[in-house]
Subunit: 458 residues, 2 copies
Amino acid sequence: MNNQPEELKNEVIYDEDSLRELLVNEDIHSFRQEYLTLHPYDRAIFYEKVDPKLRELMYFYLSPKELAEIFETSEIDEDEYKEFLEEMDATYAAEMISYMFVDNAVDVLKELDKKQVVSYLTLMDKDAAVQIKALLHYEEYTAGSIMTTEFVTVPENSTVRSAMTILRNEAPSAETIYYVFVVDDHQRLTGVVSLRDLIIADEDTLIREIMSDRIVSVSVSDDQEDVARTIQDYNFLAVPVVDFQQHILGIITVDDIIDVLDEEASDDYSKLAGVSTMDTFDKNSFSAAKKRIPWLITLIVLGMLTANLIDLFTETISQVALLAVFIPLIAGTAGNSGTQSLAVAVRGIATRDIEDESKFKLLVREAGTGLITGLVCAIFVVLLIFIWKHELVIALLVGTATLVSIFVATISGSFIPLFMHKIKVDPAVASGPFITTLNDVISIIIYLGLATAFISSL
Amino acid sequence: MNNQPEELKNEVIYDEDSLRELLVNEDIHSFRQEYLTLHPYDRAIFYEKVDPKLRELMYFYLSPKELAEIFETSEIDEDEYKEFLEEMDATYAAEMISYMFVDNAVDVLKELDKKQVVSYLTLMDKDAAVQIKALLHYEEYTAGSIMTTEFVTVPENSTVRSAMTILRNEAPSAETIYYVFVVDDHQRLTGVVSLRDLIIADEDTLIREIMSDRIVSVSVSDDQEDVARTIQDYNFLAVPVVDFQQHILGIITVDDIIDVLDEEASDDYSKLAGVSTMDTFDKNSFSAAKKRIPWLITLIVLGMLTANLIDLFTETISQVALLAVFIPLIAGTAGNSGTQSLAVAVRGIATRDIEDESKFKLLVREAGTGLITGLVCAIFVVLLIFIWKHELVIALLVGTATLVSIFVATISGSFIPLFMHKIKVDPAVASGPFITTLNDVISIIIYLGLATAFISSL
């Protein structure tokens, strides 16, 4: 079966040029008719692409509420919020923000200067401002910072019929209506009912009878990654956020969680590669270089330590220059096996696989893995070098160094990140340089140390 | 605000020991009452944890349908399916599979031997077997292979009332009822209505009037990662899968997509680290070593190439042993900057950020980044070495090698993966060793070549 041609598929969804033409011709009516039938994501793509001049026209043609839908999409990047908002009239911008779901409105405001935030909050509808302010103070990366307060609650003793009426009324403003949260008189969460259960239930049934009271909730101070894993594990569309007295404060929906997991993955990946903050491609070389240089400089400084160490052995090297030939190989192999176990550990921590594990068992297993891997690689290296150079002593030296350094690298590669995690330092960022340097130092001391000791046999 | 203590939170959800006790005492009634009120995910955790002997009791106490719910969860790993199924009576197992959502049933069967698949399909209900067979033949990693056929369709000219009736009837078996797909007489997809729209609409409205006819769909042969990005971009709960004539064949829901994105991220991450297939932690050292060794051996072979190259310069090195001191530093720095740009490119490809970019602009930008990064690092290195060793010529040699190798590494780090992507080879797996070796070779040729040329000044 063939793919649909990409062009055809896009054309079905929207025609950029004709939309642009309608704007240029200031044909408000046709533009609105065409544009507003698009999915907000496609509207956002168009909005982002056109010149600022045409966007200014759009601010006249679209209501703040209509524009809010565009800003809800993930297409508009965080670093673009500020720029776009400054194009708009301040009152219009404030009104637009007030129409967004609270969690997204907060995301937008977090990108602005304090002064701007205050002025927008002053300009907007009181109710919206109060809701936004309540969320603005939650710490970044906590459940509180990504939750929204637009959820639907019903009392325990209401009927399915009255619950459906509440739902219908709240549908236009709620972020999800597929879960209804059941609360007691003190707004404490006591159950949850899905819309699926509601529509198949008899209308006179009491909510209490069909709700599930085994509630899985997250605490407002939980880390957003834990929240994401909860939603992923339970296949939820949303999870309630509660305080320590089980009052429901907000909900977090699955679409926000996908973005959290994606960010987390990009983050771990960039850190393994030594690019500290890489969310998207950079638009210019300078900002890209600025992100990459600190890491390279750090590694150069650490590399100088290794160079210092080798420097202690220059006499040995000048006697047997062949020794120098294998230094990069040994250091490289240790580095590679260290990175492997680092990656397994970091990914295990990220996906929570590692938490059920006993640390002692893990140590035994990693030691075993290091030993097996080291032995196999060492034997291979000894054979290769002996066949190539017919120098048995050097081959054995390189082999021994390979074995020991892989062993050490494997254990340190998993234990340093676990330790970092324990002391609440992000293992992805802190472990790399430590492990690399440690491995370099150990492998070189073993290799050149042994070589110096056996120099007479070389 | 404090975190809820972890123990307390779990206790609220379920008490493992008391459940186990009920099983041991063969208290069927209480066990079922307690166990079946748990969320399937928690049921799965318990099921996985208990001894095989107790699990055997569970097969007697739970119906195949009840067990199917456990197998739907992501807690049960793919490599455990086979083991668990073999514990069960074959007819029981077949019936259980027939009760699973078709997409998940297919996932289970894909882990088994052909013979087992055939026997289970023969043992189960005909209808279920036909549905499963229809999905079994889709290629791995395509939309077809992860879609389910349990979706709800309504004819265009039905009313909201009749659509709701259809929904209520299909709710128990459909994977999602939050989207209803509208089809014409030939089962061609013509629109989509959300349950949200249905419940706020007047009951006599025609579906045609409230449906959205700007359908975003995916083709059955699309890559699962593209499907995932579509759902992520549009914030969908599900996306319809169509053939090239727009017939609806299935749907893919957001929970499956989270797992796809997670797999993809783990996959890219493992490949960057050189662990080819790392889904979860390994239970023993041998299987972990088996996964890591091929990569290490590959890198050792490539490292031997570098060693060969250095070997050409042993004469120079034996004259000026200090040269050897900086070989790991130069090769390491080139490797690090290559990995940085590789990571940016791989992640850019994965998140589709890179697709809107002109390749020429990208080349210019990467060249710029490489030049700036290389210059800064080179100056830093020259200063460090000059201060340390007071050897200006060597410092300049190392600096030049650093500059050129960072420049080459940056460009190759982004262009090799882009080229791989173009020729449909996974950039994450194929680029690493190429780039590392290329960088090593280039940096060493420059460094030792220049050193040999200027040997008289050293």
